[in-house]
Structure formats: C-alpha cells, structure tokens
Symmetry: D2
Subunit: 341 residues, 4 copies
C-alpha cells in the first residue's frame, strides 16, 4: 500500500467519551496522516452535545471536539465520507455496529472484545451474549501489531487485543513461537490500574474501595483470548489496584529442557527492530515507566527451567488506543509508531 | 450522672451501611458501656438483610451484624427498647426521623447536618430542603465534645459537627474565645480524603478521577456551620484528594495587635487536659498521623500578627463517629475517650 | 505456665525506632499483662535521646518514651531486671545480641531473620554474613503462632517469621499438613507496601520512585525460609508497591488428584477457632482490609486441581509486631490475641 | 532574531541526572531546533558514566545518553562548541558555574534559584550561602516566559522561575498588572508532589512518610521570589503530598472595590493567545489534568471582593523544564511552545 498524504485518511471514533475513546481521539487528532472525522457517543448518552475536553480537562488544549449522538444521519455521513471507524463501544454494541460499516466498505478497528475470540460459541459463556456475526468474526484479524502486521494491513476488520492479553502475549509469544515452552500451563499474575474498569460510576471503583485485590478468578474473559492466541494453556489472575493506569504482568513459565540463555535471547530477538517494544534481558519493568507511553516493557529472569517474564504496559495505550493506531498505521503503510512518539 | 454498668445502655444505629455508620457500629460494638441494639438501613435498601461485615471485610471479625430494614415494626421496637438512636442518614432523612424517636423519649445523636445550623431558614439555601422541625432544631445541642460537654450531657438531641467544621473549630475556638482574633475573615483551606464523599457510586469519586481539586467554592454548607459556631467570618475552601481518609485544614488568621506568644499558649491551654486533642505549638500535623485515630492534631505558627493554625483529623472518626461516641460518653457520665483508645 | 498478673512481665525492645519497633512498642505499651521496660537503639544512633513519639507523631498520645542508647550499662540493667527482650534489629545485630540476653536467662523474641533458617550454612548465601551461633540457632523456635503454640510457649528464643513467609505459610500449611499438595512447586506472587523496606533514607523507596515492580527474583531470603518451613518447593516473587503497608500474596498450587472441596474445607478447619485468622472460602482478601489490623485474611478458589489461595496481612503487624505479641502471649499462657483486638 | 535551522543550536545540560534534568534532556532531545550537546553531572557523582536511561527507564527509548562527569576538559569543550548551557544544579553550584560559561560567551539558562532574587543580600537568609556574583545577578532575566518574552529573548542569563512561583505568578500577575489587587496580603496555599524534593534519598520523602503536610511555614525561599516579582506582599505556605508530580495553588486575594467581573475577564485576557496557558473563568484545575503536560491551568471564582484563583502545573515541566524550553524558544525566535506539544 502506498503512503497516504497527510490528513487524507479520515477516521470516526464511536464511543469516544470513555477512557480509551478519549486517548484514541487525542492520538488521531495529533496524527500526521489522519484526520478526525468525528467523535460519537450513543444517541441517548447524556454526554452527547458536550465537548470531549469538558470530560477530559487534561486535553482542553487539543480536544475541543463535540461528542455527537450517533443518529442514523450521522451513521450515514460516516459511511459516505469516513474511511475507518474505530469502535470503543461495549462488546455487544461493537458486534451490532461493525457490520453496517463494514458492509458500507469502511475499515473497522474494534477496541472491544466483540471480535477477539475464535468462534461465536465462545461468546455466551465469557461475554454473556449471543454473537450473531459469525461471518465477520471469521474475517476479523487479531490486532497484535508486532505479530500480525501483514494480516492487519490487509484486514477490513481488526480486533484490537485486550489490555491483559497484550501484556501477556507480547511476553509469551516469542517463547511459544520458538518452541521453548514446556506444555505445562503458564501462570499469569497481573495487576491493573482502575481505568481498566472504564469511565463509569461504580461502588467497586470508588477511590476509597480500592487497594489491591484479585478478581475474576478462573473466569475472566481474557483467559480464552490469551489461550486461543497463544495456543497454550494459561492460568490468568487479574488484580485491581488503586493507581489510575498501567498493567504489570508477572508470568511464570516452564522451559523445555536444554533451553539455553541463548535460545531465550534469540527468541526475543524478534523485537530487536520494534520501536514500541523495550526489551531488556534482566529488566524489571515498573508501572511508572510505561504510564502515558505506547511501549511494552519486557524483561526475563530464569533459574533452571523456571522462567519469569515481566511485562508492563499502559492499559489505555499499548493495551488499547495506541495499539489501535499501530493497526491503522500498518493499514496505511506507515511506520508502526507513526504519531505515537 | 452516675456511671452506667457495662452494656446497660442500648444504642441503635440508623444508616449503618455508610462509611460513618460502619465506623460507629464498630465503636459501639467494642464500647464497654454500650450495647448495640441493632444496625438499620432504609427499608428499601439493597443492603437490607446483608451483614455489615460483608460490606466491610476489614471488620469481618467484629461486625457480623445484620443490616435490618427500618420497618415500622423495627422502629417500634427501637422506641420501646433502645436508649439512644444514632442517625447516620442523609440530612433530610435525619430531620424526618429524629422527632419520632425524640418524642418517644429516646436520646438522638444525629451525625448528619440536619440539626447543625441555627435556624430553619438556613436549610433551603445550603441543604436544598425545607426544614420543618424548628422546635427540635432549637433543642439541638452542637456536639463539639471538648467545647460543650455540659450541654451535650443534658441534651436529648445532639447534632454532631461536620468533618470540616470539627477540624476548623477545634483550631479556632480557643483563639476566638480568648479574644485574639482580629475581625478580618479567617481563611480555611482544607483537603479531604474521598470517604468524605460517602459510600456510593459516583463518577466524580471513581479512583481514576481523583487527584487534588478544589470544590464547593464559596458555597459549601460547612461555611455557615463554621461561621455560626465561631461567630466569626470565614472563607472556607474544601479540596478533594485521592487518599481514602483524613482532613488537613490550613487556617490563616490575623491576630489582634499585641497578641503575644504567651497569649496563644494560654488560649490553647484549654486543651491541656483533653485526651483526644494532641496540641503542640510548632507541630505540623499530617494526614497519616491521624488516620484511624480519634484525635485532632493541632499546631500553630506565627509571624507578627499573621497566624497559621494546622489541624488534622480522621474525617470518619473525630470528624464523625468517634466524636459521636464522645457525645454519648458525656451523656453517660463516662470519660470522654471511653471506648476510643 | 501460670497466668501472670497484669504488668508483671517486663519487656525491653531493642531497635525500637524502626517501623516494626514502633508498632511493637505501642502494642507492648497497651498490653494488659506487659510492662515496657524500655526502648533502645544503637548507642551511636542519632535517634538516641529522642522520644519515640517525635519519630512517630501518630503515636504522640501513647509513645512519649525516650529512645535510649544501648550502652553496656543499659544492657546490664535489662539483663538484671527485664524478663523478655524483643529484638527489632538488623539480622546480624540480632545474632550478635541475642546470646548475651539468653545466657543471662532472659527470653528473646527476635523479629529479624537472624534465627529463622535451619542451619548456619544458610546464612552466608542469603544474608551475607557468617552465623556463629549454631547452638542458639538450633534452640530457636519458629514463631508462627497458630502453628507452633506449644513450642513457642516453651522456647527461650523465638524467631518471629518474616512478613512474606507469614502470609505464605498461613495460606499453605493447612494444605501441606493435610497432604493435599501435589509435589510440584508452589508459586507465590506477593506485593508489599513500602514500610517493608524499613525506615531509612533510600532512593529506591523515595515516593516518586515507587509504583509496582518485582524485585529479588529467585534470590529473596524469604524463599529458603518458606521452603524450610513448608517442606515444599516454592517459587517466591516479591513486588514493591507504592502503598505504605500491607502484603497481598497470590499463591498458585496444584492439588493432588481426587482432592475434594470438602478436603480443602477440612484442611482450613484448623483455623476455625483462631481469633486472628479470618478465613472464608471464596474470599478475595484486599490490602485495605488488613492494614493496621493483626489478622491474616485467607480465601481459596479452585478449578480442577488448580488451586489459588489469596492471603493478606499487615506486614508490620501479623507480619512482625503483632505476631511477636502472639508469641509472648503464648509464653505467658494468655489468649493468643491478648492486647491485640 | 531569525529562525534557526533545525538542530543548529547546541545545548549542554549540567545536572542532568535529577528529575528536572532528565525531563529537560528529553525535551531538548526531541526539540526540532535543538541538538543535545551533552548531559553532565558532577565529576564525582556516582552517576557519571551511566546512561541517563538507566536512571530513568521510562525514557529508555530516547535517553540512551551517557552522563558525563563535568571535568575541566568537558567544560572547555562546552565553552568552545555549545551555544547554551542549562544548569539544573544546586543553587550554589549554579552560582559558581554560570559565570565561566557566560564569560565564554554562552547563553546560560539556570533552573536553580541561584539568580532569581533581586539582590545578593537576599541569599544568605533564604539560601544559606553568600552570593558573590552581584554583576551577573543584575544581568539575570527572570524567565517567566509569558511575561518577559522580550527580556528573555535578549538575555544572556535567564533565571527560570521556581515551581511554586510559576504557579503563583501566572495566577496573580494579570491581576496585579491590571491594578485589581487590594494592598492586603495575598495568601497562597500550595500543595506539591514529591518530585519537588528532588531525586535523592531522604527519610522525609520515603514513600511511607508521605501523606499531606505543610512545611517551610513563613520561611520558604519561594516567598521572596514571589514577592519581588509580584511587587505585592504574599503569605505562601507549601505542603508536601504523596503524589509524584504536580502543584495545585489555591490563592486568596482581595479585589479593589468596584472591580467587576469584566475587569477580571479583561485582566486574564492577556493569556488569550498564549498556547501554554489554559485559562477558564470557573475552572477548577486538578493535579491530574496537568501532570506530564507543559500547561498552567488557571480558573477564578469570586464573591464580592474576595477572589480565589486556582492554578495547577506540573512542577517538573511548567515549573521547571518546559518553561526553560519556552525561554530558549524565545531566544531563538521560535514559537514559545516549540517542541512542547
């Protein structure tokens, strides 16, 4: 695909009022090759008609953009005039909305979980709704940008990975692909900031209720996402912390016998030229080092066959919005980090 | 009044599911001279029927107490069998509930703002409702325990002070009573933890929304409360911080000419025998030093006629629940700190 | 052993100026059966001569106790007049100090790691010093209060467990003793507040440097402590968080085939009568629920043979000072929770 | 002054290992018109020889820059080859270093307090050292970028304002210059994150010691800085909070009689075209909205003659490093926000 001249590619953002939507709006807004077609919320949302910068004073200088209700008229104008739709909507809303934009010929980059799993059968148990878009689910490409650049470049529908799966898969895929993982289950202990729960009133995320606590034991919907992508059994346990942003995943894996340090180094060599992966052998990534940054920080430590990989991201960026930008960069033939550094 | 034998005095707590209600339930529960008659919530609350310890796992060892819906039957049994009712309800609910318990002869200790202001006319502008209990409002004694011990001891209805007023008045009343304050307005800059906003879902108190921000400028309802009690004009500005508990008030006052250090020392001498006031001339009270403690920490600093007083409390304890216990201690003729240290 | 009349048992605290020492001083001070003989710091410490309450304004009401330099004279008076010495000193200092008090006939309760490991050979690799007290190391009883009450009651020298080992062992020992653990290694992912690093100036614990980060991978000295006590291989990975107090351990264990829920319930039944263990099958313990409390909160979750146990403590209390009080309570024939609730 | 072609202007940073130095290194590094000549620390610093990115893993992608000891050789090469020196050194070190670079004809932008006050006599009482550079102190231009653009553009020596003074003066100067302030003292209540204390080991800034506490009452060195610049008496009280970055100043001022809202609006109209000032009449700036941003957020609220102005900045950016960039932009004839958005 040819390089597109600046601002020629027009992107609409639906569900722009959430934490991810606002980050994405900012990134699209400042992207040299994208123009922001518009920011949309549900027609019935009380946010419709307000400025995005009223919800996010931190972006008062750049997001004086009206949040528009997604009426039929607006949908129609998006279909006729925009090139790509980013969906930052609830899972089931994404599934409902995506097909009409796809059928109108637009590209859709979905940041929900609506098109991440392998099959419609996975949706009722993990997402609690019937998924009626088996066709589009099959078409969807998993948007882990460093791993599927060609597929993403060609895809009409991209399912941007979940935040925990991004932190986990970026750490584990090099090992899996290199055949270094023993068949035993990988344990993923992850801690997330509270923006991961979304921008909404909830007693569980009231400031005074937060400290550090596990949740979703054995049943979090990111478990099948990781398993399907990794093709390896994992035990994933998320924890909610009191800080606003960031995920730290501590991953415990067993290596095949005779795995050398050199094998590990070679495996992670896949990231050598990746501008948004900061890999360092003995690094101990920290939440503070990735907050408000589009990177994933990775380090590994071993003792015999026992491997620990540490992986940190900003859940709203590499775990959502900046990875979505990586995907559209790939589609536009741009460097993957365009507009992100 | 005679000392009451242990557990002879029976107290019911209405509105027990909130942050203040839970602290108060714990304090009553462990108080040597009180027995907890019962913990109540609104008849229609979804918390009715659950254990208080299910809402507050930190008190799993001591608050396995059912939250009962406040039905007519329950009200009747409180009236016939309990001695004191603590109201931890919304302001207007307190105003509605207090009279029937008072008329049944019970003591009422109200932790809301329903009986704190001087006159019913103050309620519509600051609390947004018509106050129809002028009689009881006149009867109410302001429960600032160190200042009105005799009045509280005799009162049938006690209005426990607000959290900000407690921090402010404890710092300023010694100066006012000693005649050291110039007539110019006192500036009160205060910062509170998020429990001050109550236990409820709200976007403004979502963990990710918190940092440090002023609110209620010129119009917070604690302004008239402080002014009326202090009989001095104040400019009170609260701020919401991201920590769970605690208030730090930084108070700026002008001293009358010729006020000596000795005058100041004498003024604060009123606290010399008060077990729950930790006064120290040049102290710089910190939030961490008062959290989960029933104390108010006070220090002063001056330069010429300019005085700064620093005052810190736990908003849920000295700012609410433990001060309510001080009030009932006074009523029972017990040491003011009974059950608190 | 006979019950001791109140205040008859005299305890000296050496290393009282640290976070653990201060908590312990407070607990001894308010304990109905103990009298605080004195609080000591190194003879050369700049803290010598100051009041403990000057270092800990939160305890201004109860710890107006001078920190005395531990001169030879002071040692001598301790030996002649005190009954028990609590050591809150550095590991090697404890090893150096304990024998002389033991030989003088006192009981010693050591809160350092100086007497926790099985053999002197374990010390150079994990603690970096030669341990020359093999005799006393053999005499030392591991002070995990719920597990070794009789041994502790009889011991002259008690080694109070480390904070992470306490959280870990309290969760795992019931399973191990009941024979439910498969031989595969147990993974312990733990997160601690910054008081765990001790009260000292250090760039790594400067407020702005903290967020969430793993440390001590594969080499933390609590690994051999846990392994030796559990008699089971573990992989222990600590993390430093930005909150002040508390540890949350997330433990991943494999159960033997055919382990039923009933087996698990039976195993944890050992805690049914323990007043300082708050066990609940599906509980998800949170840091905020244990801070400033002497409890360990434990819950378990399973899926097939995979078990996750969650365990939370206050690192300064159940992880140190309050557990030391449990030990002395056992020695004095008092209820284990005496002075703690 | 003419626009300089990209990368033609070469800047050395001395004291680059601190929090401010690192931010400034990043900003210079990514600035389109600057080239980073080198990053320096004291010859004897243990940081000499390490990479800046080793101290700041969050900047691992952009600051793989060696910290060089500032030997005589290095000084000489800076003098001969660099155009501007940024000093992020201790106050007295700046005073010692600046003259030799100035005399060599370089521009010096000093981020310490070494050249901020009016006269050498102010230094012993507020900075604790004799200031022997009266000549250069007179030459120094106060680098409050929005207020003294022409003077800064022409200056050889710029004294970048302190963090608290920046937050305070940006809020107050419009009022003062418009003649709206009554002569009574302005009260400045300010709260700062812990990076304000600098990157160094210190017990007072250990994570567990932080909460919210006033300090420097009546004697902070930013008081004379504000007073001299504002030409108005102020009472400035700083507080240390537990968050890493950001300052919120709440300013209490009295307006002259007959000051209208229009007068206030007109006064702040001076910022209408300023890209790094986000002014909004009733705004309530929050720390979270300015962190990691080069803006100052300002809002005002009044009641009669009483005015409250709220002002928030990132102490490391608008309070130091990004304001230093504004200054060099002015000197190079670039837009003031060049390289900052």
């Amino acid at each position: 695909m040819q390089y597109q001249p600046a601002s020629s590619h027009s992107a609409a953002i639906i569900g722009a009022s959430g934490y991810v939507g606002a980050e994405l709006s900012r990134l699209v807004q400042q992207h040299p090759a994208l123009s922001l077609f518009g920011c949309y919320v549900s027609e019935h949302s009380s946010d419709a008609g307000t400025l995005l910068s009223d919800l996010y004073p931190q972006y008062a200088h750049c997001l004086k953009i009206p949040l528009q209700g997604l009426t039929d008229n607006e949908k129609s104008s998006i279909k006729h005039q925009a090139d790509t739709v980013f969906l930052c909507t609830e899972h089931n809303i994404s599934v409902a909305l995506a097909p009409e934009f796809l059928e109108a010929g637009l590209k859709v980059i979905d940041l929900s979980g609506g098109f991440r799993l392998d099959a419609v059968e996975d949706y009722p148990p993990f997402y609690g709704f019937e998924h009626k878009q088996a066709h589009w689910l099959r078409q969807a490409v998993y948007g882990l940008a460093e791993w599927y650049p060609h597929e993403i470049a060609e895809a009409q529908l991209v399912a941007v990975p979940g935040c925990y799966p991004t932190a986990s898969l970026m750490a584990l895929l090099p090992l899996k692909k290199a055949g270094l993982l023993k068949s035993s289950k990988v344990i993923i202990n992850a801690v997330s900031g509270v923006t991961g729960a979304g921008r909404k009133a909830s007693l569980a995320t009231q400031g005074a209720e937060l400290s550090l606590q596990a949740y979703g034991l054995f049943e979090h919907r990111h478990t099948p996402e990781i398993t399907q992508q990794l093709q390896h059994e994992v035990l994933f346990t998320p924890h909610l912390a009191q800080f606003p942003r960031g995920i730290l995943a501590t991953l415990y894996a067993e290596l095949n016998d005779d795995t050398s340090d050199t094998d590990l180094t070679s495996a992670y060599q896949c990231y050598a030229e990746q501008p948004l992966v900061r890999f360092k052998k003995l690094a101990r990534p920290a939440i503070k080092d990735v907050v408000q940054q589009p990177f994933v920080d990775i380090g590994w430590h071993r003792q015999g066959n026992q491997l620990i990989v540490l992986s940190a991201i900003d859940n709203l960026l590499k775990g959502a919005a900046s990875q979505a930008i990586q995907c559209i960069n790939l589609q536009l033939g741009l460097p993957v980090e365009e507009g992100l550094l």
